[in-house]
């Protein structure tokens, strides 16, 4: 019986690996294309591996476009959003989880309801609002409408719900304030999910296309996703350069993810260890 398990185990594992490779192939292909010369790219006798390792496209893009500026914009706004989202969502999730106050149920309902709001549809009103606050083409203008994350609030609430009540009760008896309890007990127990939420928020902030697209009008304020659509500055036949831009846009974030991936997976495994 053990032998059967081993065989099917190997088969399934192999299948998983093959599937994962197929899944990731588009990224590989984009990378390979970006490393070919433009002429090689459109040659009917194409190959899976680049015939030559050609960095011309990258150099072209880096020299001809403002990609470093765009990176700064994306990084600053994404960090700003992530920081503010966590800062705002955590206390709210805690209050909903542990405290009772007039309007608590309304708030909970309101948070759930807001997940369903199509942000894109509100863009007209948001645009006018941000303009009235004189924040068009600023980092704050990009950041502020994105600091609301009902999902983070709900997730925090659910994880805080899982923390053993005894811990809180003991602190209350000791005379600790809610802020202290949050900071000293609930937060330390939930670093895992905080990291995970921060990561997911950062990615979503980085990825956000439509809002920065609508409200930035100066090239120097573009975020990376928006800027890609404007680098059709690429001249002539440009597939390799197009892929180079894509790689430059995605590369550093991908790299960061690979570094932090262990943390995220660990974090999730950690939080799954919490028994309610």
């Amino acid at each position: 019986m053990k032998k059967n398990i081993t065989f099917s185990w190997i088969l399934l594992t192999l299948l998983s690996i093959v599937f994962a490779l197929i899944f990731i192939f588009p990224l590989y292909w984009a990378l390979a294309t970006s490393l070919k010369s433009e002429v090689e790219v459109i040659n009917p006798d194409w190959t899976i591996f680049p015939k030559s390792f050609n960095l011309d496209s990258y150099i072209d893009v880096i020299l001809r476009s403002q990609i470093t500026t765009w990176y700064v914009n994306s990084i600053m706004t994404s960090f700003g959003i992530t920081f503010l989202v966590i800062l705002i969502s955590m206390p709210c999730g805690y209050a909903l989880s542990q405290l009772n106050f007039p309007g608590r149920n309304i708030l909970l309902l309101a948070v759930l309801a807001s997940i369903m709001v199509p942000g894109t549809a509100l863009v007209i009103a948001l645009f006018i609002l941000i303009a009235d606050l004189n924040l068009i083409n600023t980092w704050s203008g990009i950041i502020l409408p994105q600091v609301l994350s009902p999902v983070c609030v709900i997730v925090y609430k659910q994880f805080f719900d899982q923390v053993p009540k005894e811990l809180r009760e003991a602190s209350v008896i000791d005379g600790a304030s809610e802020f202290q309890i949050l900071r000293k007990i609930y937060l330390p127990l939930n670093w895992g999910i905080t990291t995970a939420l921060a990561l997911v928020t950062f990615i979503a902030a980085w990825n956000n296309f439509f809002w920065p697209f609508i409200m930035t009008t100066q090239q120097s304020m573009f975020t990376v996703p928006v800027a890609i659509t404007s680098v059709d500055d690429a001249f002539g036949i440009f597939y390799a350069r197009e892929m180079a831009v894509a790689m430059l846009a995605a590369g550093p974030i991908a790299f960061l993810y690979i570094i932090f991936q262990k943390k995220v997976t660990q974090a999730i495994m950690m939080t799954s260890g919490i028994k309610g």
Partner: protein, 294 residues
């Protein structure tokens, strides 16, 4: 017992204040603005005149609106269930692997697309399916099929956008499912092993019921996200061919930004909002009933 004590209330309000403040400013206010706007004939910026229900009546009679609604639901059909199922399958695949290195690498492969901005995703896939030079076309050639212009063929455009969307977003679902799977105590599986249960039985009687809360959550979130779809559709197909992929949010953009009809666009936005609310509540109730039956 005194349910609310003063100190607790003040702390509560302080804790929720930042969230509520931004909620009012960036969600409630624009929503009300859009609502009022929808009862006017305003252009994109600036105010017009009050016209009452005129926009909504116009909407009712607008063929394109109904088409975009149908398209949105077709898209939901193509993505919500498949995205959830594939997410679960991949999570199961990854979860059973004990080697941390291998499972971590597999997870990275599936999650990596999720961290790409939408424009990178559309650029990469646009290149892959390019009729003249795309590698997918070469594959079709190899298998003896005719080349397909995916985004200019009515039958292919929507499924292709759905496929790309799933590729892009399934990583998120996988993560949620893995968290849920890890929450299931291995003791349960060991006990059933002793009783002679096979893999399918274990899945049906242990895994499935225990991750049902996560599955329900994923399904609901997926529904909401896909009803709100805009970016990929706009970038890949622009709503064509013959309006077969124009979704409701794109209609909002077209009417509001392209044709300068702010009031009308706001009416469409409001209707979409209502639809999302109703669908989500309906689905949530449906899933909860199923949950209770178990």
């Amino acid at each position: 017992m005194n349910k609310y004590n003063k100190k607790s209330i003040i702390s509560s309000y302080l804790l929720i204040f930042p969230f509520v403040f931004f909620y009012f400013l960036f969600l409630l206010y624009p929503t009300i603005y859009t609502l009022i706007f929808s009862f006017t004939n305003s252009p994109l910026i600036g105010w017009g005149e009050w016209v009452g229900m005129e926009n909504y009546i116009k909407l009712w009679n607008d063929k394109l609106f109904w088409k975009s609604l149908k398209n949105t639901f077709v898209f939901v059909f193509w993505t919500v269930a498949p995205n959830t199922i594939i997410g679960l399958i991949c999570a199961l695949m990854i979860n059973r692997i004990k080697s941390y290195l291998l499972s971590g690498t597999l997870l990275a492969c599936f999650f990596l697309p999720h961290i790409l901005p939408v424009t990178v995703v559309t650029e990469i896939w646009g290149w892959m399916v390019s009729k003249q030079f795309g590698i997918i076309q070469e594959l079709l050639d190899f298998w003896g099929f005719k080349r397909i212009g995916f985004f200019s063929q009515k039958t292919w455009a929507m499924p292709m956008v759905a496929l790309i969307t799933i590729w892009w977003t399934v990583g998120f679902n996988i993560l949620l499912f893995i968290a849920g799977l890890k929450n299931i105590s291995p003791d349960l599986y060991e006990a059933s092993d002793i009783e002679g249960a096979n893999a399918f039985q274990q899945f049906r009687f242990i895994t499935w019921p225990l991750i049902w809360p996560i599955t329900a959550l994923v399904l609901t979130l997926q529904l909401i996200f896909q009803l709100k779809i805009f970016d990929q559709m706009y970038l890949l197909t622009g709503g064509g061919p013959f309006n077969s992929t124009i979704v409701v949010l794109q209609l909002v953009y077209k009417q509001g930004f392209q044709l300068n009809k702010g009031g009308y666009a706001s009416a469409i936005a409001m209707v979409l909002f209502a639809i999302i609310v109703i669908s989500s509540v309906f689905q949530y109730q449906l899933l909860r009933n199923k949950d209770e039956k178990q």
